[in-house]
């Protein structure tokens, strides 16, 4: 099937849904989201494959249903990678990862998913095919819609294609030092202010972990620094701990220097990400319940809610795409 025809098939489905007043639930591989009774599945997982890739331009264009694992493998053949280290939940798609704006431990050092987005092809809630941005590393023509839609979770448009900046694969080494959480938070902040070529800083189970890329000075062995496996970054990303009965997993976004938070079981992303296991919601402005269904935070201020509601009318005026 040619790319054009597979896209028009999606826009037809959306146009029909407008006529039928049928709610659509967009899904990649449904890594975790079940389809609700009131909605019809609009799956993009068949729309998969690399559209274009020129390693020297540092840009890849890929169909949204492509599995992360496939994409990463193609990049690795050319000694390149996705710079935002997306979590691999099993068969995640690049479109779903984008729609959830999922990013790994390297975020403070190389940037998050949104920092690598250059352009999108999408279909809006009226079934119109569009393109925003492009394949260029620099482009300021028009509003940055393709970055804005990161985190839109299928609520505004069906994303069919993405252009992403890619980076060279790096050789990385991990070191660790045993210490309490509070000290680790302080140390990771101090280290990020030095010229050490860091690509990860975390605290987990009594150890401060840091990861360094490329040529760097030998690490000081006198202060209990030991070289350790890079595997810890996979343990933290995606982070899927075993919880005690009744406990829930909470994802907190904080300033990197935020002191230790009660019930924290891991500190990631250079201190800006805290994972808390507790029965009750931690009292903090930026908390997400990390569970088997999306739990909207609903802590936007009224003025931001109004903007989001307004944008929904712009992209999906008939409210065809289900908000998750």
């Amino acid at each position: 099937m040619s790319m054009q025809s597979s896209i028009s098939h999606y826009s037809d489905q959306i146009k029909q849904a407008v006529v039928d007043k049928q709610l659509l639930q967009i899904a990649g591989n449904q890594s975790k989201v079940p389809v609700d009774d009131d909605a019809q599945l609009l799956s993009i997982s068949d729309h998969s494959g690399i559209v274009s890739y020129d390693p020297a331009e540092l840009v890849v264009t890929v169909k949204a249903g492509t599995k992360l694992s496939e994409l990463s493998a193609v990049l690795a053949e050319n000694n390149q990678m996705l710079g935002f280290e997306p979590p691999e939940y099993g068969n995640s798609t690049i479109g779903g990862t984008y729609a959830c704006s999922l990013t790994g431990p390297s975020r403070p050092f190389r940037g998050g998913l949104r920092d690598f987005v250059l352009g999108t092809q999408l279909i809006d809630g009226q079934g119109r095919e569009m393109r925003f941005g492009g394949k260029m590393l620099k482009n300021v023509a028009g509003y940055d819609v393709s970055r804005m839609l990161c985190g839109s979770k299928g609520s505004l448009a069906l994303v069919t294609e993405l252009s992403l900046k890619v980076l060279p694969l790096l050789e990385e080494k991990t070191y660790c030092i045993p210490m309490p959480e509070g000290e680790a938070i302080l140390l990771m902040n101090k280290m990020q202010g030095t010229s050490l070529p860091l690509t990860g800083c975390a605290y987990f189970e009594g150890q401060f972990y840091y990861r360094v890329a490329g040529e760097h000075p030998t690490q000081d062995n006198r202060v209990e620094v030991s070289a350790c496996s890079n595997a810890v970054w996979k343990t933290l990303n995606p982070f899927q701990p075993t919880l005690a009965p009744g406990e829930k997993l909470w994802r907190l976004d904080v300033e990197s220097t935020n002191p230790a938070i009660e019930n924290t079981i891991a500190v990631g992303m250079g201190g800006t990400r805290r994972w808390v296991a507790s029965k009750n919601k931690p009292n903090h402005p930026y908390v997400t319940l990390w569970q088997s269904r999306f739990a909207p935070r609903n802590n936007d201020k009224p003025c931001v809610q109004k903007i989001k509601a307004g944008l929904k009318e712009v992209f999906d005026p008939h409210h065809i795409f289900k908000d998750l």
Partner: protein, 478 residues
Amino acid sequence: MDVIQALEEALNKNSILSSEEACRPYECDGLSAYRQKPLAVALPEDIDEVKQVLKICKAHDTPVITRGSGTGLAGGTLPLENSVILGLSKLNKIIHVDPLQRTAIVQPGVRNIQVSDAAAKYNLYYAPDPSSQVACSIGGNVAENSGGVHCLKYGLTVHNVTSLTVLDMNGETIIFDEKDDGIDLLALLNGSEGLLGVIVEIKLKLIPKPEAAQLVMAAFNSVKACADAVTNVLKQGIVPAGLEMMDKFSIQAAEDFAQVGYPVDAAALLLCEVDGSHDQVKVDAKRVADILTENGAYEIRVSQNEKERIELWQGRKNAFPAVGRYSPDYYCMDGTIPRSRLAYVLEEIDHLSEKYGLKVANVFHAGDGNLHPLIMYDANKPGELEETEKFGQEILKLCVDVGGTITGEHGVGVEKLDSMCHQYPEAELEIFHGIKAVFDNSGLLNPGKAIPTLHRCAELSHMHVHNNQLPHPELERF
């Protein structure tokens, strides 16, 4: 009471300018070919005063055009006759630098270079470095999503802003933060050219200064060889901190101006900077030099110390004024193209240059495909400015046709409204107008800039009817 009186009553009288003479500096920005006296200029001293200006203008149905330092090159701050210019130069305080967190909170009128100056004592700096950094404001940088020579490695403004405080046309405060859930409104505000809100406070990322940096200069006999060499550097997994290319004319002009020893006989010159730890830089500079030699560089110079490195940059950094000496006026274009099409695009620009009888110098951010052709003209010659603009538009069309875009970093402003019609079809433009209306229902914030009306695009394509097929047949034509 009219809007000027109301503003004078609310703010310090000296903060409101309305005479012909006092308004003159605000008649244009860096795109000086376009000029218009505004109704008045308001220069508030704090956020409360900004709010008052907005409320008063809203009440009087008066358009507001936010202005930072006025170095924009696309006419983004061009006044309307009935508009108030909201100048933010007095909001120039660095509110807080947090060395441990590596962030700075600043007011919008702070100049780009001041942030790095303030961070220097902690061995930190603010990475985006537009060539205009001594003058341009952080507010303007955010509104344009500005880049600099180091953005291939360290990112554009959007990559280095973590939070924005914005006022809407009602003077209401909205905060956009990287920690927000759901869609990325923070990203949307970057590059929004003053149409979605007035940015009054910005939180920026600071990064540690690299331990070392080295510059490799290489001369080539052809543009293509130079572009191919860049391709091979990037393919080998090196991400240079800076990667700049100049054509023959720019090399000569820069050398005449700065006398830094550029090879004036070269068809193309490449400046490639690597930075990082001492060990990494040593390895990378050697690899870069080797790759460039293998790819046909006939002369290579590697900076041996900081003084030499800075000197070698001087020619490139002064390329615009250097070219400016050859001509009464020059017009700076800002397209992006895939690097693989550079040789073709430069050839086509040569043809256009002959067609219009206007000389062009080209400087190129080779890492990210951002091309700056500088068209030389004389505004005093009748008709020459118009010809120059036509020439410029043809260059931008060329950029779009090879898969690039009409602006890499300078924005659309008023300058590239027509080119936007070429880049974006109607549905996309409708979405843009929809977004604008969500943020600014009154349409009073910088009206008429950045996004062309559908009517304008229809008119324009009307003038370029191909094969008797009229684009946008559904639109009414006046």
